[in-house]
């Protein structure tokens, strides 16, 4: 039985993580996501489920605590915002190299540098193209509501363990701070020791009789071995591209034009669709939910049915590159964005559609 609550996105994510059977959260305060750790601490999850919550000395320590915990087969997580996520990139690269499952949430704020504490989507490249060193991918989920903040905690853990890969929930200051109604899943039990031994036989749980020692490492000094490891990682990412693409289409059936937008921008575009249709402009929205794997095929198919695509992002134009790759020059694809913490208004978006796509 799902429970209905009114919550902030950050709080919903934290509550959902407890209910998803998380074993540990390791974080460091940063605006606009400090509510995650504050909520967890106030909930005393150690008493509720046995979940450990620890405030680390830095984002670097926090992500490495996630590495240590994940390496023992536990459901572990961290959250931060853009500057803190930059600090975590070393650890994220190691987590991917060592193929460790974990959940990471980034409540994106405007950058570069210390930037601003207002919402932004300027970490798309960092989230989907690497961020740290080496050829790796995160599985990236982009919530556009408080409900999805809650849903993606459980889904994120499941996908992380399915692929032995970190899952990033790419939120932003707006989704994290706004309050909406949310249906919460019932409490899932935490993994038992027996389940960990059975489901994650690679975990460093202490040598058990009849098995060799387990080693969690991202190091292979022999190039031939490292190449094989990379090929295996790439095969895993291709598998994600086959099986895990998630998206939502709104008003695309009769559309002459399309917005492509995720997260907060997708919410703005939903309103912009209404405004445009009142003016007789048939426009729909294609909302990628997974940013990696990216719904390239869906966008490619859409390109043969509409007259133009406007990519709306709270950035100087990052996801637009992936849309252009999918469209491959067959259609006009333009970018409209506000950045530095500014959220575009639906009116601005409609005007941009008229100016850059319809009239351009």
């Amino acid at each position: 039985m799902k429970e209905l609550r009114l919550m902030k996105g950050n709080e919903a994510f934290a509550e959902a993580a407890i209910r998803a059977g998380a074993d540990g959260y390791f974080g460091y305060p940063i605006t606009p996501q400090s509510e995650v750790m504050e909520y967890l601490m106030a909930q005393k999850p150690h008493e509720r489920t046995g979940m450990i919550v620890l405030q680390a000395e830095s984002e670097i320590a926090a992500i490495n605590m996630v590495y240590g915990g994940a390496a023992t087969g536990k459901r572990v997580m961290t959250s931060s915002s853009s500057p803190g996520i930059s600090l975590k990139q070393e650890g994220i690269s190691y987590l991917c190299g060592a193929e460790l499952p974990c959940l990471i949430m980034n409540a994106v704020r405007g950058g570069p540098g210390l930037g601003t504490i207002q919402p932004s989507q300027s970490d798309y490249f960092q989230s989907t193209k690497g961020g740290g060193h080496g050829d790796y991918r995160l599985l990236v989920l982009a919530p556009s509501s408080v409900q999805e903040m809650a849903d993606f905690a459980g889904l994120g853990f499941d996908l992380a363990f399915k692929y032995r890969n970190p899952v990033l929930v790419l939120s932003d200051g707006a989704i994290g701070q706004m309050m909406e109604k949310v249906y919460l899943e019932p409490q899932r039990p935490r993994f038992t020791d027996e389940e960990i031994l059975k489901n994650t036989p690679w975990a460093t749980t202490g040598i058990t009789p009849g098995r060799e020692r387990n080693i969690i490492t991202s190091l292979a000094l022999e190039s031939a071995k490292m190449e094989q490891h990379n090929l295996a990682l790439q095969a895993k990412y291709r598998k994600m591209e086959e099986d895990e693409v998630r998206f939502e289409k709104i008003g695309c059936e009769d559309a002459d034009y399309a917005f492509v937008a995720y997260g907060t921008s997708a919410r703005i575009c939903q309103k912009a669709i209404q405004l445009a249709r009142e003016q007789g402009i048939k426009v729909g929205l294609m909302r990628p939910i997974t940013l990696f794997p990216y719904p390239r095929k869906v966008i490619s198919e859409m390109a043969s049915r509409v007259k133009g695509i406007l990519v709306v992002e709270m950035s100087a134009g990052q996801m637009v590159e992936d849309v252009r790759l999918a469209v491959n020059g067959r259609l006009k694809v333009e970018h409209f964005g506000r950045f530095g913490g500014i959220i575009p208004s639906p009116v601005e978006v409609v005007e941009a559609l008229k100016k850059q796509i319809i009239g351009g």
Binding site: I52, E57, I60, N64, G68, T72, G91, I207, N214
Partner: protein, 258 residues
């Protein structure tokens, strides 16, 4: 060279008084001849064997010469990013409170890039063991200056000797962590003579036994050599270590709480 007269008749199972612990893998050690890493690996593994905790122990290897410690230690192990071993160990222990968790770190790893992780794990009083190998140099990367390089000591990045006015002072991090309320046992040992090895092993045993008390972190520094990095013969390196390293990093217990 003196003639060696081996009486092979006495090599019988019933006369066996000492053997290589089975908790060391058969892999040939990758360390330079004369280096203290091998001996320290051995005594840690002997302690784990003697305590019967092989299946309950998780080790964390660092970046540096001992990055491949997991090739030699026959227990479950994790390899950490440079300096981050105490953060990994913190989570491993907190999420698995029944386990014995130790890190094995060199001076660059523990006292330079990982200073924050070291100090905060110590200060929080994590119930883990930190084994700290201090040879005053970055061995694996080819002999660069470390946070523990002595004043005047030559390295590839202090080729005319460490000039403290320009390069700063060596860091006595072991004395520093002894000041923190979260450390239960802080000691400085060496492994260059049989007597020192016995003492170091006793200290490591005490550190692992302390884990059961849940009263804080045990920190065992092992002052060691780096004959390759120091550009000395193994024997000369040990002599130099006794004369110079021990003068700056005196051996013995620094903090013993019960």
């Amino acid at each position: 060279m003196a003639e060696v007269n081996m009486n092979t008749e006495i090599v019988q199972p019933e006369n066996l008084v000492y053997k290589r612990t089975e908790l060391l893998t058969p892999n040939a050690l990758s360390y330079c001849p004369g280096c203290g890493h091998g001996t320290t690996h051995r005594i840690i593994m002997e302690v784990i064997e003697e305590m019967g905790i092989q299946s309950e122990t998780i080790g964390i290897a660092p970046v540096g010469c001992s990055v491949l410690a997991y090739d030699f230690m026959n227990i479950d192990m994790q390899q950490a990013a440079h300096g981050r071993a105490p953060a990994l160990a913190t989570a491993v222990k907190r999420l698995n409170p029944g386990k014995f968790v130790f890190t094995y770190q060199g001076d660059g790893d523990l006292a330079a890039i990982g200073t924050a992780e070291t100090i905060h794990a110590c200060n929080r009083g994590e119930n883990i063991v930190i084994i700290f190998i201090n040879n005053g140099i970055y061995g694996m990367t080819g002999g660069q200056m470390a946070p523990t390089t002595l004043p005047g000591m030559k390295s590839s990045t202090s080729p005319y000797g460490r000039d403290v006015a320009m390069m700063g002072n060596p860091l006595k991090i072991t004395e520093l962590v002894a000041q923190l309320p979260g450390t239960l046992y802080v000691t400085r040992q060496a492994v260059h003579t049989p007597v020192a090895v016995r003492k170091a092993k006793k200290a490591i045993r005490k550190a692992f036994e302390n884990t059961k008390l849940n009263k804080g972190l045990s920190f065992v520094e092992v002052v060691s050599n780096c004959n390759s990095g120091w550009k000395m013969t193994p024997r000369k390196a040990n002599e130099w270590m006794v004369d110079n390293m021990f003068a700056f990093y005196p051996l013995g217990d620094i903090k013993v709480n019960e």
